[in-house]
């Protein structure tokens, strides 16, 4: 395996692990259960271990500090309280910095990193001292049985590796010898015992089965992950136990205990390998025998006698279980380069265009068989399209959970007690969308906390609960994804917004605006209602940038607010960026595409009304004549149609000549030249090779109202 190639995976995994650690830390000490603690510890440990593989010594050193304190927490020697959580959060930030530096090609620490890391390590060290002191007080007996330095591992000592190969290893084409040879490249095999006890008598012995086991004392600077890596290919066929240097005696005993018939022998082997001292073995085995009558678990004995703490045994068990779980998860998902997916989507797009023209030609030939084939093909291509797009869909939950940290930090800075409520985490949307949503959402959440939610005193005055809440919600709605950021704060004050907008010359004082128009002013460049400027927001930049970002994603944003009760910012985004289900309409010789999801119904155009609205089942329906809008010069046909489209709850009619029906539309962006054109969001190729313009329904609806 080429180490360099694995580096991006390391970076990705580390990012994910840090995210997970952070999320768990943010739940606070009160809700920290053993599982969470273990996960945090494992995260730190894995990053340290993998960093070691890549010789990222500065990361190893830093994570080692973090891991040591976490180990203390897990063992119950260090109390996990708020200051420590804050310190650990700072540590995850620093670790992230280090990882990003590696991603940027900086593989060793620079002075700045060291300056940033040193105080963190020093503060971690304070916890460690306490740890070691309490450890010494609590475990005097363990100290006698285990005369080695506890805690940090001395490099002079050996790893102990216990291998039992499964019967099928040889048949699967693998030779245990080659793993041992490979192992000896990572360090030196100080001692090895070959175990042949499992070898059956001659008649039953199948020469193609493997019966051997090995106990190995291994001197190496490599870390556990690296050693485990050696046995990667036989992991499923083989029972492997790897004990780091200076493991607790109990772990060796557990190893002995795993093979009851050979127990005494295995014990001797451990001594012979130099892994255990005879004295240590004696002590452990004596304890085992003394209680043989009651047949308790060895772990229990050791715990009872105070040699190890229950946490250690539990942790070991949990760890094994989780290793299994992780493997099962691995099998269910694979990591794919995003570039490959994009390429696939591109190809599917081309495929759709090609199928469309095949269809058209088939129809023209009037060969029934060919038409049938083409129809089947279209059906399949459509399914492929659905699936290919599905590949890019990611649940928004992970993004939402990242805001726990934002809320934690910002509420601390502002002195407000705020909780984040998340719903709709399972809503899926395009990965590119999710990536580009991060910044606007962060801004909205910060805004909600900073401006939306009142100070605790004010909340009490208004008899609201002292704890404010910010809600993130997501759901699908007719071809778009809706993301809501709401708070239960003071709400927007209409008069204030109006006054400010007039003061800034954004609107004419004479003009009367409805509520929604007033709230939309907030998104105007250079608008800010904050009475004082904080370091978070309120500098007059922000909301307009948020809007720009969202519009760039073909989305819209608007605000609903109840004064005194709270504000909700509603972001609407298209489900995907690449391909849509379209509906073809014709005006004269021009063909336009409407996103199918936005279409409510098609009705016949009532003959020649002179005004710009019509009566749709008793309701007023404003409409736009596309012929006029796009200045199509061909004369109108006798029977025109109205396509009723809907966006954000508002209906509008579009007057067109012909309805062509559904069409799979691959969105091609318009050239820069057309960036100023309104009401058109893109173009698409028809099967005939003609270009059809894709109508921007939100813009049209806005124009009609």
């Amino acid at each position: 395996m080429n180490i360099e190639e694995a580096l991006p995976t390391f970076i990705l995994e580390s990012r994910e692990l840090l995210e997970d650690v952070e999320a768990r830390l943010l739940r606070g000490p009160a809700e920290m259960d053993a599982d969470s603690l273990n996960a945090i510890f494992r995260g730190a440990h894995t990053i340290k271990g993998s960093a070691g593989l890549f010789q990222l010594d500065h990361i190893v050193a830093f994570m080692h500090g973090v891991e040591s304190v976490l180990e203390g927490v897990r063992d119950g020697r260090v109390k996990l309280e708020d200051p420590l959580v804050t310190l650990l959060l700072a540590c995850t930030d620093h670790a992230r910095l280090l990882i990003e530096a590696v991603a940027a090609g900086e593989v060793s620490a620079n002075a700045e990193m060291e300056r940033a890391g040193a105080p963190l390590l020093a503060r971690l060290g304070e916890y460690l001292e306490v740890t070691q002191l309490t450890a010494a007080v609590e475990k005097p007996r363990a100290a006698i049985v285990q005369p080695r330095p506890s805690g940090d591992s001395a490099l002079t000592d050996h790893w102990h590796i216990s291998l039992r190969f499964g019967p099928d290893v040889l048949r699967n084409g693998m030779d245990p010898l080659s793993f041992l040879r490979y192992l000896s490249q990572l360090g030196s095999i100080a001692a090895i015992e070959t175990l042949s006890d499992a070898l059956p008598p001659a008649p039953e012995m199948d020469p193609e089965s493997c019966y051997l086991g090995f106990e190995i004392a291994f001197a190496s600077m490599a870390d556990k992950a690296a050693i485990e890596g050696v046995f990667e290919f036989v992991r499923d066929d083989c029972r492997i136990r790897i004990l780091p240097p200076n493991s607790r005696v109990s772990e060796y005993v557990a190893l002995i205990d795993e093979a009851p018939p050979q127990a005494p022998r295995l014990g001797e082997i451990l001594v012979r390998c130099g892994t255990l001292t005879p004295h240590e073995l004696e002590a452990a085995l004596a304890a085992q025998q003394a209680d043989a009558a009651n047949a308790p678990k060895l772990g229990t004995i050791l715990v009872d006698e105070g040699m190890v703490q229950p946490a250690v045994v539990d942790a070991a068990l949990v760890k094994q279980k989780q290793l299994g779980d992780a493997k099962a998860l691995d099998a269910r998902s694979i990591r794919v380069d995003a570039g490959k997916l994009d390429k696939l989507i591109d190809l599917v797009g081309e495929l759709i265009i090609a199928t469309a023209s095949t269809n058209m030609i088939a129809r023209r030939t009037r060969v029934l068989d060919l038409q049938e084939c083409a129809a089947t093909l279209s059906g399949l291509v459509e399914e492929v399209r659905e699936n290919a797009l599905q590949l890019r869909m990611v649940k928004i939950g992970a993004t939402f959970n990242r805001f726990q940290r934002v809320v934690h930090d910002v509420s601390r800075e502002t002195g407000k007690d705020i909780r984040l409520v998340v719903s709709g985490e399972d809503t899926e949307l395009d990965k590119t969308l999710i990536e580009r949503l991060g910044d606007p959402l962060t801004h909205l959440v910060r805004n909600a906390i900073d401006h939306g939610i009142e100070s605790p005193e004010e909340r009490r005055k208004r008899s609201k609960p002292a704890q404010g809440s910010v809600r993130l919600n997501a759901y699908h709605d007719s071809g778009s994804v809706v993301i809501e950021v709401s708070d239960d704060g003071g709400g927007l004050k209409r008069e204030k917004i109006l006054a400010k907008a007039i003061e800034r010359g954004l609107i004419d004082p004479e003009r009367s605006l409805n509520e929604r128009e007033i709230f939309d002013l907030v998104f105007e460049p250079g608008f800010s209602t904050a009475e004082r400027i904080t370091n978070l927001s309120g500098r007059g930049v922000g909301m307009d940038v948020v809007k720009r970002n969202i519009v760039a994603l073909r989305g819209t944003v608007h605000i609903e607010s109840d004064e005194g009760a709270g504000t909700t910012v509603i972001v609407r985004l298209p489900l995907t960026l690449a391909i849509i289900n379209g509906f073809l309409v014709g005006v004269g010789k021009s063909v336009f595409v409407l996103p199918l999801d936005t279409i409510e119904e098609c009705v016949e155009f009532p003959s020649a009304p002179t005004h710009d609205y019509t009566n749709l089942r008793g309701n007023v329906l404003p409409f736009i004549r596309l012929r006029d809008l796009f200045e199509v010069s061909d004369p109108p046909v006798a029977r025109e149609n109205i396509v009723v489209v809907r966006h954000a709850g508002q209906k509008t009619g579009l007057v067109v000549d012909t309805l062509f029906g559904e069409f799979q539309t691959v969105i091609k962006p318009l050239g820069k030249l057309f960036s100023g054109v309104k009401c058109i969001s893109g173009s698409s190729l028809l099967g005939t090779g003609e270009v059809a313009l894709i109508l921007d329904v939100p813009a049209l609806v806005q124009q009609a109202s």
Binding site: V169, T194, S196, L199, P201, M205
Partner: protein, 111 residues
């Protein structure tokens, strides 16, 4: 290709010479070849000088032969270990139990 043949001993021992690979690919055949001489009452000498390759299944067969012989209270000796055999037995720390004396090991090394 490689094969195992049984030759009549010069002394009282049956001498088996393993030629070529002592590996999984011939494990079935070799099991028979190594165990058959143990049916007799004679001591058995297994000549390993012409073994070109030894793998885990080969090692298992050697251990099996040795154990079977011990059960029948027969004398079984592995002699003239080839370099390939020496390397594997050293790796597995089985030299002492599979007939590789310290002197023999060094003598082999000198060759």
């Amino acid at each position: 290709m490689s094969r195992a043949k049984v030759a009549k001993p010069l002394a009282t021992a049956t001498r088996v010479c393993v030629e070529g690979e002592l590996t999984i690919y011939r494990a079935m055949e070799l099991k028979r070849a190594l165990l058959e001489p143990l049916e007799s009452k004679n001591a058995v000498e297994i000549d390993l000088s012409r073994v070109t390759e030894l793998d885990t299944s080969g090692v298992q067969l050697m251990l099996l032969a040795q154990r079977t012989a011990a059960a029948k209270e027969l004398e079984l000796r592995f002699v003239d270990h080839s370099p390939a055999v020496v390397e594997v037995l050293a790796l597995l720390n089985l030299g002492a139990s599979l007939g590789l004396g310290a002197s023999e090991a060094t003598a082999r090394g000198a060759l």
